[in-house]
Amino acid sequence: MANQQTEAALAALVAAARRSAIGRRLQGDIETRLLQSIVDATVRLFDAEAASIALFELDPDRLEFRVAAGEQGAGAVGLTVPPTQGIAGFVYSTGQALSLSDVANDPRFNRDAAEQTGYVPRSIAAAPLLDEQGTVGVLQVLDKRGSPTFSLRDMELLAVFAAQATVAIGATRVQRDTERLLRTVLARVGPDLDESQLDELVAAATTNLDVDDEAPFWRLVDQVARLRSLTDRETALLTDILDVVAAHAERARRSRAGR
């Protein structure tokens, strides 16, 4: 009996993980595009040299710069920094927005920044991306062109942009973090499970999810994902085709049932 229950629970987990994977596949890089539009707007509004968004990732714990904008921003994308270091790390750890305005005087900061991005800012402002659970990342702006410092108003505006980015992330995070989602749920329903049991269950539910890209099902999912770029005419055409296919399937089903 207990075994049957376990199997049913595992089946449910696999289904949840599969749904989540489908969602992720359908959404594609929508998160990146949303975040990109936010840093683009940030750079323009602040008339800044660069703006970037770093998101927290697990194993190892790190802040990973996902998008950047501005003339001096490009070097930041893909960069990772420990959440225990630097301004991004502090803002991530405390959830407190802050700006520093003569960072170029800090030789250590200077060298690190230059080595990593090829650009040494004079001033930097950073705001946390805060959702209901806590901080998920950091939005940074470097060097406002019109001013050597960031004003209170700037900090408040930055918080608004950070809130936008958080909404964008929240919308896609569930899909992105299938494993984290499962872990959280499992830990809550089974408080007695230890780490290794959790690992085992999560692995059992997610193994084989993405291995075979060529499987007919995943090809179909990918095709559906590509439909986003269709024009209205193409969409209408596709709808007609699907109507025909659906009608055909319905007829086939009826004739099978009638037999």
Binding site: Q96, E132, E156
Partner: protein
Amino acid sequence: MTDQLPAWSEPFADPKHALRRALRLRGLTREWAWGGATGKGVRVGIIDSGLENDHPQLYGRVVENVTVEISGDEPIVVPDERADMFGHGTACGAIIVGLAPEVEIVSIRVLGADLRGKGTAFATGLEWAIDQGLQVCNLSLSSKSESLYPVFHDLADRAYFRGTALVSAANNVPAPSYPSLFSSVFSVAAHAEPDPWRLYYNPAPPVEFGAWGVDVPIAWKDGGSTVATGNSFAAPHVAGLVALILSKHPGLSPFEVKAILASVADNPGRRRPRGRRDRPA
């Protein structure tokens, strides 16, 4: 869009309009509140990234460094290195020492690589500070964790009943964050007037006090200094004033200290008397 700003600092940017209504208690002046005070006899906890004890701007006022160690389920408070992960704790300490040069600072580090369960570390550090009988605690962080809400609520009450003033930087986010928005806490946002003694009282909570937090020259990591903006640099200005008041009037409750601060604040309509000194003699 500007209507949606979670602008805790906004009243302090326009005090003439926003801060007109404020109580004035007769006889309560800055001279009475902290004239001649140095912070002597007051211990201030800084719950932050650690403190660099030998930073020149701390003038040797750090008397203890502890951190929270999380091994297994039981977080425990243990002695810590005399170092600062980020520079921020040192910055807060130096602001407080700048106002109250004879306070004793206790560094309670709750940020760092080994403190992944940040909320728990924070709560444990705060509990320790209250149980040690520290008179003032400066908090630069707050938690959004729903599960920790009752923990922080209990700690804020415990602090209040034991007479520990919790001074917390307001978080500029349109969502609850604890303990900075609990009513017993001294919640602080930044104003932009470059004067460490300029204090505003906001009669419309949750954020009740405004202090200097824009382009503040601060101490930073590795004996350095920089210039910074943020509510977390406003809070230690208020913590410093609270320490001065408590060193001159030991045993006042947080409620009484708040009333004094409100009464001596620089809100419009109550000019500072001419020739009166802000600074203790």
